[in-house]
Amino acid sequence: MIEDTFTIANKNFKSRLIVGTGKYKTFEDTANAVKASGADIVTVAIRRVNILDKGQPLLMDYLDPKSITYLPNTAGCYTSDEALRTLRLAREIGGWRLVKLEVLGDKKTLYPNMIETIKSTEVLVKEGFEVMAYCTDDPILTKKLEDVGACSIMPLGAPIGSGLGIQNKTNISLIKEQSSVPVIVDAGVGTASDATIAMELGCDGVLINTAIAEAKNPVMMAEAMKYAVLAGRKAFRAGRMKKRQYASASSPKKDLI
């Protein structure tokens, strides 16, 4: 069987599930869920250090960036300038070049501002960043992102944190079909079957945060997502049966008593 490798920006990863590290109650909960998910990549945000609360534990104390790939994001940025500033700082923390760009356009829907996203990608690529770009599920705009050098296209399945599942399967399929870089569904997954659907559509991976962090049992949901992604990927590779209008008996008619 041909090996099923998952490569982003020339780096191989084992798991096709990327998990976010936000919304957990404690760093311990975060670390346990990440472990159960089997993810090789975690997204992280960049924020001010709390100078009044010296010596507090840090995310890095619980998730070792040497054993798991940190993917710094630009969550909360609404302009290209803010996003660029954030990622340049992220790179300075420890040499991170692989980043997740998200430039938002609206506070209520957290919908991506594609004009600013494309503009930022262009600049970041020139500065040597490997840009995974959170984007709308518009095939024309994702093509444009690829043209300016994004190393991965990350269309939303539904608004961030909504848990509504993959809303536009047709567009996600179109994007996957035309893209020569990995397509990762980012945002909108609510439960395991949503992750499986994304993978069955042929996507290269799924990024999940809220669906795990807000589950009643995040560790168990993290594990469910791990299997959901594996199942969806395998089903895609296996090639599903053709759909029929009418039944087709599974037991032979011959020698019926």
Binding site: V44, K54, L58, L59, I93
Partner: protein, 72 residues
Amino acid sequence: MNNLNVAKIQLNGNAYEIKHGTNLDDLVNRLKLHKNKVAIEVNGEIVEKNKYPSLVLNKNDKVEIVHFIGGG
């Protein structure tokens, strides 16, 4: 400490007092941070870690120190 030896800077959006002659290494140590876990901007410019010892802060400097936190 006499006032002449003290300078006020803006640290992460708040007023913060430092001794004259404080460099970025001193500041990081005083805040009990690890320089390999943070990035620092002074007056809008990112400072490379190897320049921390030589960058002495001045009155009214705007300093931002950031790190990684949980995010999606």
